[in-house]
């Protein structure tokens, strides 16, 4: 293939960043472990993160998570460790700060005053691991029910131990301080209203508790977790390939991208990169998934606005894509198409024709919709200057993907840390200027066009070749070997029963998901089952910010803001 000459071999990204100021001022107080993580003593954590944030420009907190080393095979300084994942404003460097917690007292200072997103992230860690954050404004459960006893991601919590919880959280413990901050001491003139979890516009099971004056939202509190099903706990009990069907259920609007993100991360741990053809197929199908994810988001948002016709204009092409995906993968919604080291099977004959037909339909649908709304005064009045997120705030909130780009920050992992030959494709990053609902919608429309550009280039350049890594320790053998000789049979047996053995390490990697940075932080102990998996769902920070954004607006605005942030309960609640 001629085009393949352009292709640069893919780098397996390692956190090889150098936060200079931090290293200088903490010279003899940190150490680096074999996973390139900075180990810092617990008492310096605030100081260290402040230094990173202010002096080294690491002003994006990607995630906070904990690790329970109870059943770990090697010696550990203490049972629990906390990991902070940060990224700098050039988007090129990622650092991970790890701190071991004293066993006697599981307590650490909260960093919620430094990063807005830390508030929810720390609540989740408290919920799942029972680690207490001092000075946290409101340390309560996040994903699990408030009556839940114990901390499910601890290694000594049995996976089978279900609990029956019934009491509803009235959320007044959060609402009253918020109202008092705004000067409302009496609540007699306010109406309290639950927008969700079963509201027609909550698109899933998301609850927003509002205090209303007329229809103006004075104060709002969001509650999530209605769709929490313990994805991360399940991962600790399955082999790597068995986890792939679970990832389908994260962002179910673009299941393939979750497949890719997980498989890509595990391949990074294995130190392999999938063959060129597999990379191209991942780009093709991944971009197609991004398109349908955007179509869902846009269509739902327009329906919330009453522009019902656009729903069919956008969903009909999505239907065509689903037909294509079902032909290719055997399933429409939950595709489970990727495998560690490649994918289930190659493209079918005539795939290109079907793809071109899909693209034509998508282009027509997008053009029709835009012709209805682009110059529509009502549409402009409803979306412009509604749900504004300023660029600075968006970074602090930890937003990513189209939501961040709508605020005017050109951050796209496909550009800043290209994987799968994205550096060789000619495409643009769409950015907005204001960060309102209008920008978020228009950025998505433009990204659909850019994804089509990528697909067209990828389809032209796709090389022939294998679609699985040629390594018996990773890929399943051919069926003729399984049935034909004992080596093949044993190989198959070992891979199915024990899983792909991933070298022991702690690893974070992310790809550009449909609504932002979709990251996986995986800890392996060398066996075929991950020791810990933590997803960094792109809409988690958006949902954390949502309640504050809608304050001051009306119910109608809140509905549009929620839709435009593209909150998907599946990956939010895990």
């Amino acid at each position: 293939m001629k085009a393949s000459s352009k292709i640069v071999p893919q780098k397996i990204s390692k956190a090889d960043s150098m936060p200079k100021h931090f290293e200088a001022s903490f010279a003899n107080r940190f150490s680096k472990d074999e996973n390139n993580q900075y180990i810092i003593a617990q008492q310096y954590i605030i100081e260290a993160i402040t230094c990173l944030q202010i002096e080294d420009n690491f002003s994006i907190l990607l995630d906070i998570t904990a690790i329970d080393y109870l059943t770990c095979k090697h010696e550990c300084p203490s049972r629990f460790a906390l990991v902070y994942i940060l990224r700098d404003t050039s988007f090129l460097q990622t650092v991970r700060i790890k701190t071991y917690l004293h066993d006697a007292k599981l307590e650490i200072q909260s960093i919620s005053s430094l990063f807005a997103i830390a508030n929810w992230a720390e609540r989740e860690v408290w919920d799942q691991y029972g680690i207490c954050f001092t000075n946290h404004p409101n340390l309560k459960r996040m994903l699990n029910h408030k009556e839940f006893i114990g901390h499910p991601l601890r290694k000594d919590y049995p996976i089978t131990q279900g609990q029956f919880c019934t009491k509803t959280d009235d959320l007044m413990d959060e609402m009253i301080p918020k109202l008092e901050n705004k000067g409302f001491t009496s609540h007699e003139d306010l109406m309290f209203l639950n927008l969700g979890p079963a509201h027609p516009a909550s698109h899933g099971t998301i609850r927003t508790f509002c205090a209303l004056e007329g229809e103006t939202i004075i104060s709002a509190v969001a509650e999530i977790g209605y769709l929490h099903r313990g994805f991360e706990k399940s991962c600790e009990n399955h082999t790597y390939n068995q986890i792939i069907p679970y990832t389908d259920r994260l962002n179910y609007c673009s299941a393939i991208l979750n497949n890719i993100a997980f498989a890509h991360t595990v391949e990074g741990m294995l130190g392999v990169s999938v063959p060129q053809r597999a990379q191209f197929i991942r780009v093709l199908i991944g971009e197609l998934s991004r398109i349908i994810d955007h179509l869902v988001c846009l269509a739902a948002n327009l329906v919330d606005m009453g522009a019902l016709t656009n729903y069919w204009y956008l969903f009909n092409p999505r239907e065509a894509v689903y037909d294509l995906l079902s032909k290719l993968t055997g399933a429409r919604l939950t595709n489970s198409y990727m495998r560690i080291g490649g994918m289930a099977h190659d493209l079918y004959d005539g795939f290109n024709e079907d793809l071109q037909e899909c693209i034509k339909q998508i282009q027509n649908g997008v053009a029709d919709t835009l012709s209805l709304i682009e110059h529509n005064r009502i549409f402009h009045d409803r979306t412009q200057d509604v749900g504004v997120i300023k660029a600075e705030k968006a970074l602090n909130l930890g937003l990513s993907g189209p939501n961040l780009r709508a605020s005017g920050i050109a951050y796209d992992i496909r550009k800043t840390a290209p994987y799968y030959n994205y550096e060789s494709f000619d495409f643009d990053i769409a950015i907005g200027s204001v960060g309102d609902v209008y920008d978020r919608m228009m950025v998505r429309f433009e990204e659909i066009r850019q994804s089509i550009r990528i697909i067209n280039q990828a389809m032209k350049q796709i090389p022939q070749g294998p679609i699985l890594v040629a390594d018996n320790a990773i890929s399943l053998p051919d069926k003729k070997d399984v049935y034909g000789n004992i080596e093949g049979l044993m190989n198959q047996f070992k891979l199915i029963y024990e899983g792909v053995k991933v070298p022991a390490m702690e690893y974070y990697n992310a790809i550009e998901g449909a609504n932002g940075e979709l990251g996986f932080y995986i800890i392996s102990d060398g066996s075929g089952t991950p020791y810990k998996v933590k997803v960094r769902p792109p809409c988690f920070p958006a949902m954390a910010a949502y309640a504050d954004i809608i304050e001051g607006g009306m119910i109608a605005d809140a509905v549009l803001t929620l839709g435009s942030l593209n909150i998907v309960a599946g990956e939010l609640d895990r």
Binding site: E215, L302, M305, G306, L308, T309, W312, I378, D381, M554
Partner: protein, 330 residues
């Protein structure tokens, strides 16, 4: 002709109007679904009868046989009576609407109007606005926050647009000098050129816009918009009680179409070779289609934008129109 004959004639007319308009309202739901489906590239109802034509019968049976749920904490008498107000007021308003030109049946001249009162238009608008109580009472008696929000929206929307409707129609009435709809119709007897829409274009547009708001159609369908207030005042209603709101709404749509046709577009006067009866049917069909077309094409506004539109744009324009008409007439 004795008094008895008049009573019988009126009763027959009333029953005919009730039956025909209720039928039209039901048929309008089918048309709406088909027209929207066509515009949205789908099929709409297809399974009951040829092209789903019997869907409305199926819907009717479903509505009548569904369990009648009255929420435990609602204010029951009001909750039960509220849905009746909607169609009742909508049909009563039609008493003063002349639907067709008069015609002769078996040598007997029929005036297709139930009551030719000399303040016809006042009567129609007055009675139609009583219909506002239906969603208002329904919303307040449901004891449901969404219903309450819907009721609040109803009051601000319908009450505000009453003003625009009234003011916009004032200017044409000044030219005609009568409140009887028959007189208004007769004023435009001179063919297409004599239509009031040409003489009062602003009033025509304002009345149309207000008509969309009064009948709760997109882009002003804020009263029961699903994505914001769940189902507004009708959140707790089901079965035929809910159906009655629906019938009232469609009857209102038909009334508004008749009013616009009679006041601004020459009513039931014959155009060229088209006889008057057919002419007005074509006109109201066009307006009903317009309602659907707008629904398919546009998103809806926000309540505060609706108020802005009403009080800061439409009402000043209506006043200006009256002023200009006054100056011209003097």
């Amino acid at each position: 002709m004795g008094e008895m004959a008049i009573v019988i004639e009126t009763v027959i007319k009333a029953i005919t109007v009730l039956a025909v308009v209720a039928g039209m309202a039901a048929f309008a739901t089918y048309i709406e679904r088909k027209v929207l489906a066509f515009m949205q590239r789908r099929l709409g109802p297809m399974h009951v009868g040829p092209h789903g034509i019997l869907q409305l019968a199926a819907d009717g049976i479903k509505l009548f046989t569904k369990e009648d749920i009255v929420p435990q904490n609602s204010i029951k008498p009001i909750f039960k009576i509220a849905p009746v107000i909607a169609p009742a007021s909508a049909f009563t308003a039609m008493a003063a609407v002349p639907f067709f030109p008069e015609f002769t049946l078996f040598g007997y001249t029929v005036h297709p109007i139930i009551a030719d009162i000399n303040v016809g238009i006042l009567f129609v608008m007055g009675v139609a606005s009583v219909g506002m109580y239906a969603p208002l009472l329904a919303g307040m008696s449901s004891v449901n926050k969404w219903a309450l929000l819907g009721a609040a929206r109803t009051v601000i929307q319908l009450l505000s647009f009453e003003v625009v409707t009234g003011l916009s129609i004032l200017a044409p009435l000044m030219m005609i000098g009568s409140l009887s709809l028959i007189d208004i119709n007769d004023y435009q007897m001179g063919g297409v050129g004599s239509w009031l829409a040409w003489k009062q274009p602003l009033a025509f547009v304002l009345f149309m816009i207000a008509g969309f708001a009064e009948t709760n159609r997109t882009p002003f369908d804020l009263i029961e918009v699903e994505s914001e207030v769940v189902s507004g005042y009708a959140t707790d209603y089901s079965g035929m009680r809910w159906g009655l709101f629906f019938v009232g709404e469609y009857a209102n749509m038909i009334t508004v179409s008749f009013l616009v046709s009679i006041i601004f577009l020459g009513g039931y006067n014959p155009i060229w070779f088209i006889p008057g009866g057919l002419a007005i049917l074509l006109k109201i069909s066009f307006f009903i289609f317009l309602f659907l077309w707008v629904r398919a094409a546009w998103p809806h506004v926000r309540p505060d934008q609706l108020m802005w539109l009403c009080w800061k744009v439409l009402m000043p324009l209506a006043l200006l129109n009256i002023l200009l008409t006054g100056i011209v007439l003097i």
